[in-house]
Amino acid sequence: MSLQQIWEWSYSSKTIDILRNAKYAIPLIQSFHLFGLTLVLGSTVVFNLRLLGLGVNRLSMPAITSQLWRLMVGGLLLSVTTGILVFLPDPARYAANTAFKTKLVILLAAILFHFTVFRKVVRADKPPRRAAMVAAVSLTLWFCVGWAGRAIAFLG
């Protein structure tokens, strides 16, 4: 499906029309989007503070990973799903928005990093020497996703 087809479908679909016109539909979906973000960023922050040695030192890395990995993935699924629901009623606006496009690129980088390098580090028996570096990259990427996301409303 090309972008053009998504456009045409979204502007002609009656279901999407309900989302577009119901007064509180978008803020409600965005609330779930932010709740997902809280789960994603919250668990990522815990992992990273632990890797940086700045806190959570009395919980073992396997204990943190076994509990927070699924919470992070669940939050991510919630945020991505609700994000798509916010996008669909107005694809033309988002496709033209610099902050949105920037956010998508950083998000893809963050996801890619999270499920490869980051995953390996938090599942290692002993945190490797580059753990602090990995934590810094992870935090930077996810925080930039948040900043760029909020900027969508302000930048054209």
């Binding site: 509180y24 978008i26 803020p27 409600l28 965005q30 609330s31 932010l34 709740f35 973000l37 809280t38 789960l39 994603v40 960023l41 919250g42 668990s43 990522t44 922050v45 815990v46 503070l49 806190g55 959570v56 009395r58 919980l59 204990a63 509990q67 927070l68 919470l71 925080f143 948040g146 900043w147 760029a148 996301g149 909020r150 900027a151 409303a153 302000f154 930048l155």
Partner: protein, 163 residues
């Protein structure tokens, strides 16, 4: 209404106008307000989930509390500081916003709920934590915290649509 005229004065100070009119500063503070969610509410949610045995069930409640709750304090400080700046920048409109007022009321409720835990369940935590059974009241307090914070997030998001 004296408070409203004070808000009017506040948002017209050069400091407030400077934030409001800055193309970079205002979105940056908004974004930071949201990112602070991770270090404040995000960590409190983990403690709530433990009270409900939905996460870290193998760890004692006392350890989860000691590991996550103090860590959330700088997050709440950042949340409050950025929230205050956003209020100053648009004081008049924000003060009149009913979603904002509801949000403030829920923040007070979240504080009271945390206070209740400290007064009622914290003093005997060593005892019930050893037995492995979280008292019903403490579980309820955890569930209430989850619901209140979810509503605070929703009201915060919705209020922006009425400004």
């Amino acid at each position: 209404m004296p408070f409203l005229s004070w808000c009017h004065w506040l948002q017209n100070t050069p400091f407030a106008a400077g934030i409001r009119q800055s193309d970079l500063l205002f979105p940056l503070i908004e974004g930071s307000h949201i990112i602070s969610l991770s270090l404040s509410v995000g960590l409190i949610l983990l403690f709530d989930l433990r009270l409900l045995r939905l996460a870290f069930a193998a760890e004692p409640v006392s350890r989860i509390m000691e590991q996550f709750v103090p860590l959330s304090l700088p997050g709440f400080a950042a949340m409050f500081a950025t929230g205050l700046l956003l209020f100053i920048a648009q004081a008049e409109k924000v003060y009149q916003n009913s979603f904002f007022r509801f949000k403030l009321a829920l923040l007070v409720l979240a504080g009271l709920n945390a206070l209740l835990y400290q007064v009622k369940f914290y003093p005997k935590m060593a005892e019930w934590d050893k037995s492995g059974v979280v008292p019903w009241g403490a579980r309820l307090s955890g569930a209430l915290s989850l619901v209140i914070w979810a509503c605070v997030i929703a009201l915060g998001r919705t209020m922006a649509y009425e400004l």
